[in-house]
């Protein structure tokens, strides 16, 4: 088989083999319902407890503050709807940003349709919100601020500690969607004054379909999944034991190697960015500089080319990347994140996200650097926009 280079780790990671091994006994052997009181389920109860402790350790939380969910989306839905509903007698104003993942964005829109006012904060050209904007947006009715830890498209890190300190001082709940950040960059919910935090296992070498919500001790939000008394009465449904065990194993594994992985992967990412900027004319790097973005994230715009075209050409060469966020690949809208950082429609449509991970090697990056420039050149040659662009900059000279 010809070379395959997977560069879409931000969309999802493989489940690490050691994580799969940890999960395996919980399918056929130790399959008991953890809510059952007999000894047969004891191992399952302990396994869930151990996984909860692992998540807590990585976040600087206690295990009583961790609730498992079916993924990042459910954690986001629960956090926003639960906090808003719970506090609606106090106020009906929620603040978030224009660059959130759809799991937050569409949930915020749902709140709007149900009587809440939502402020969507702007971001600067690198994708960062301004604390001043946040402070100005707060009203007496603000009950929740939701700002993502790191953006899934451009990797920009937000000033989470500052936001947390401000919200705590004001007595406003602070939720952060840390789905992209968890186990990849350091997080300390206590030091950062985070009240609610969403994470998802399949972004750090765990299985798909399982995530968690951190809810700070003392913070009460309404339930989202109503039913049985699981998760101490706060999130119903028979526990996905294997998935939860996988999440625990994965967060331990990935956060345990965070430092070395960041250095290695960050280095490869820098190599990629430098290479692309050097060999492809009129390429633009979207997002913040290295150090202020996720170590594994690179996001480019190539004026004159539409993203899907790029993806398919790269696919033909065995390179798997993404344009915009994975889940909106079926969409015709340009990425809302790239629009929010001020890109033109043309640029936003011509974006390419390459996200690196555990199995990315230097050869992979060199292969991309030897392949991508030709593809960009070829597609630009058949693009009327590229023609226009060249004329416009010639005219400008």
């Amino acid at each position: 088989m010809s070379r395959q280079v997977y560069l879409d780790y931000a969309a999802t990671t493989f489940t690490a083999p050691e994580v799969v091994s940890a999960m395996t006994p919980y399918f056929t052997e130790s399959f008991g319902n953890p809510s059952s009181i007999y000894s047969f389920s004891e191992r399952n109860r302990k396994a869930i407890d151990a996984a909860r402790q692992k998540v807590a350790d990585v976040l600087g939380a206690t295990k009583e503050e961790i609730y498992f969910t079916s993924g990042g989306t459910e954690a986001d839905n629960w956090a926003l709807k639960g906090a808003a509903w719970r506090n609606r007698s106090k106020g009906n104003h929620v603040i978030t940003t224009k660059i959130e993942h759809h799991a937050v964005l569409h949930t915020a829109q749902f709140l709007q349709e149900n009587g809440f006012d939502v402020t969507f904060l702007d971001v600067d050209a690198e994708g960062r919100i301004s604390l001043d904007d946040l402070k100005k947006a707060v009203t007496g009715k603000t009950v929740l601020v939701s700002v993502m830890f790191a953006n899934n498209e451009i990797g920009t890190l937000q000033p989470v500690a500052e936001i947390g300190a401000f919200c705590r001082e004001k007595g406003i709940l602070f939720h952060t969607d840390a789905v992209q950040a968890t186990a990849h960059v350091p997080i300390d919910v206590k030091a950062m004054n985070i009240d609610l935090l969403s994470l998802s296992a399949h972004k750090f070498y765990g299985p798909k379909g399982v995530g968690a919500l951190y809810v700070r001790k003392g913070v009460r939000i309404d339930n989202f999944m109503h039913g049985g008394g699981q998760e101490r009465g706060r999130r119903a449904t028979t526990e996905n034991v294997a998935g939860i065990v996988g999440l625990g194993a994965a967060i331990e594994l990935t956060s345990g190697r965070m430092k070395t992985a960041s250095a290695r992967i960050g280095g490869l990412r820098d190599l990629l960015v430098e290479g692309v900027m050097k060999t492809i004319p009129h390429a633009k790097l979207n997002g913040a500089p290295s150090g202020e973005r996720l170590p594994n994230n690179a996001n480019f715009s190539f004026i004159g080319i539409e993203g899907e075209t790029l993806l398919l050409d790269l696919d033909g060469a065995g390179i798997y990347g993404s344009t915009g966020s994975a889940c909106s690949s079926g969409s015709l809208d340009p990425s809302h994140v790239l629009m929010a950082i001020g890109l033109s429609h043309e640029q936003a449509h011509g974006s390419l996200r390459l996200t690196l991970g555990e199995e990315t090697t230097e050869e992979d990056i060199r292969y991309v650097l030897s392949t991508l420039p030709g593809i960009v050149k070829h597609r630009r040659e058949m693009s009327p926009l590229w023609e226009d662009y060249l004329k416009s900059i010639e005219g400008g000279r």
Partner: protein, 143 residues
């Protein structure tokens, strides 16, 4: 998601490029929607003897351009005018519903080029139909 034909025309698009001093040139689409199609015509004795395109857009936009140019090459201007987006999509063995507008774009770009040709020749332009039902590009596709 795409048929073999779409992938073939995307990977090996026919009739890419420009025509110098074309008899007609037309453009459809806009960057907001993520696709722009530009068509160049050479017309001799009312027959399209050469056609070239340049397209910014997704795979189906490029494949639609390529297929559309193949379909009208050698045809009379009137025959070319009557090429429908459906015919383009069918010739490609279908397009995903969400991408049907790309075939519309091809029809529109050819219409624009033909009317430009007619205008250049001092002929009255033909009336273009609208395909609004297919071009709800900016509707939200997410729940």
């Amino acid at each position: 998601m795409y048929s073999e034909k779409v992938l073939d025309h995307f990977q090996n698009p026919r009739n890419v490029g420009e025509i110098e001093n074309p008899d007609g040139v037309g453009q459809a689409g806009n960057p907001k929607c993520g696709d722009i199609m530009k068509i160049y015509l050479r017309v001799e004795n009312d027959v399209i003897t050469d056609i070239r395109f340049k397209t910014f857009g997704c795979a189906s936009a490029i494949a639609s351009s390529s297929m559309a140019t193949e379909l009208v090459k050698g045809k009379t201007v009137e025959e070319a005018w009557n090429l429908t987006n459906k015919a383009v999509a069918e010739a490609l063995d279908g397009l995903p519903p969400v991408k049907m507008h790309c075939s519309v774009l091809a029809e529109e770009a050819i219409h624009a080029a033909i009317n430009n040709y007619r205008r250049n020749r001092g002929l009255p332009v033909w009336e273009e139909e609208s395909h609004d039902e297919l071009v709800d590009h900016h509707a939200h596709h997410h729940g």
